[in-house]
């Protein structure tokens, strides 16, 4: 669950967002430079909003009013970078294991690298280095690495933009499948409206820092909204 309402001053305009998603995929669509990536970075904690509140799974991670700013590593998010950001000096397996929660941590699930690698069909690449695999494979590794941390929210920054059409369609299908399996909200940034329509349960267009709702989440979204407002109040 993500609920975010914040403002962030950028050099040429002020970004204002008010989004919430409890399950499914929220697609943020817009031209480059519209502020899409900034939204993801604010949610992840890589940038600090100038005003507002962000809550992940009913826990406030940022609040300008309360002065809360939870560090990135404690936000329990997975982040897919546009350029994958795989560690070039580590094998695929080491990349995937980098964020594995230590034994005895709060997580209930016991995920092994093997499970995640197999699920994303990259088990055979485990001993390769990022420079030795293709773009589509890199994206799968990056996904596996992010999921390995058992995040409560997955943020994807133009995850498919650098891939060819075939790989792209395959991975679009797999993202849908993964989301259904994993049951955590995905926030996906794309400049491609078609892709947004194909993947998004909810689509928001960002233009010069202003948002325009293109597609609302289904009916089940509304009662949950109430629930999370209650959750936010309880958390305080």
């Amino acid at each position: 669950m993500l609920k975010a309402h914040f403002k962030k001053k950028l050099p040429s305009f002020e970004l204002e967002v008010d989004v919430s998603i409890s399950n499914g995929i929220l697609a943020l669509v817009g031209h480059s430079g519209a502020g899409k990536t900034t939204i993801l970075q604010c949610v992840a904690g890589l940038q600090t909003p100038s005003w507002g509140e962000i809550a992940i799974s009913n826990k406030p991670v940022f609040s300008s009013e309360l002065g809360t700013n939870v560090p990135i590593r404690k936000r329990r998010i997975g982040y897919l970078f546009q350029d994958y950001a795989l560690f070039p000096h580590m094998t695929v397996e080491k990349n995937v294991l980098y964020g594995k929660p230590k034994k005895g941590s709060a997580s209930e699930q016991v995920l092994t690298a093997g499970d995640v690698l197999e699920m994303l069909k990259i088990g055979h690449l485990r001993n390769r280095y990022p420079s030795q695999i293709s773009g589509g494979e890199k994206q799968r590794v990056a996904l596996a690495r992010a999921l390995m941390t058992e995040p409560e929210l997955l943020l994807l920054d133009e995850p498919l933009s650098a891939l060819d059409q075939n790989t792209r369609s395959t991975l679009q299908q797999e993202l849908l499948k993964l989301q259904a399996q994993w049951k955590i909200p995905f926030v996906l940034v794309t400049h491609d409206l078609q892709e947004a329509e194909m993947l998004g349960d909810q689509i928001i267009k960002i233009d010069h820092g202003q948002q325009e709702i293109i597609k609302e989440q289904g009916e089940q979204g509304k009662p949950e909204k109430l629930e999370l407002v209650r959750g936010l109040n309880n958390a305080r």
Partner: protein
């Protein structure tokens, strides 16, 4: 033996320089703070100052009446002027900026997205530094080591001023060569020059080979995507 002495001084200097330059370079590469440019200039200053100026400053600071000289005398009953420690201090001061510069540039060139990715994967700053920044800045660290070692080994002016030229105690290779030549002992001078040259060559060659090997390991071989 001047060669052994030189080696001791250069080795001690490189160890000290490495310990200090890596954290300082890490800080300077990634953090913004008030007065950063001033700090940067002070660190780099020994690179442009003549060795005699550095030697003079060290004498002022570490001399009998200098602030650190008095401190060392009172609390540790020791002094660094005309000792091998003095030679090490001179070597550290002149070689520090070289190591610092190359490590800082290498760290600045590490893709910040990789560090961000590590943070989103739950890593603390210290883990990000040791598992991402440092290994990826390896080339720069090796280059810095080579430069710092070479500069320490060749230090002459500041060493002469603070450590003097005491055979067997503070007479390093460059000093021995200079004074052998001065006294007309061309044979000793040329032998020392040959030893110094071939030794420096071997050290730099070895370090470069080592760096290349480590680089190959860290990059995971060729690119056959």
């Amino acid at each position: 033996m001047p060669i052994i002495l030189s080696l001791k001084v250069a080795l001690a200097s490189v160890i000290i320089v490495t310990c200090f330059s890596i954290p300082i370079a890490g800080l300077m590469a990634r953090r913004e703070f008030w007065g950063k440019d001033v700090v940067e200039s002070i660190i780099t200053l020994p690179l442009v100052l003549p060795p005699s100026v550095i030697g003079f400053m060290l004498l002022v600071v570490f001399g009998k009446n200098g602030p650190l000289g008095v401190f060392l005398e009172q609390f540790f009953h020791t002094r660094v002027v005309f000792t091998i420690e003095g030679a090490v201090i001179a070597a550290v001061v002149v070689s520090f900026p070289l190591m610092y510069q190359s490590v800082r540039v290498a760290m600045e060139n590490v893709d910040q997205n990789l560090e961000r990715a590590a943070r989103t994967l739950g890593a603390r700053e210290i883990r990000v530094f040791f598992t991402i920044t440092l290994p990826l800045a390896w080339n720069g660290i090796i280059a810095g080591l080579v430069l710092a070692f070479a500069r320490s080994l060749g230090e002459f002016g500041a060493t002469l001023m603070i450590a003097g030229n005491i055979p067997g105690r503070t007479q390093t290779m460059p000093l021995a060569i200079y004074f052998a030549n001065e006294s007309g002992d061309m044979r000793t001078a040329s032998i020392l020059v040959m030893i110094m040259t071939s030794f420096s060559f071997l050290v730099i060659y070895g370090l470069n080979r080592w760096g290349k090997g480590a680089r190959r390991d860290s990059r995971g071989g060729g690119t056959n995507a």
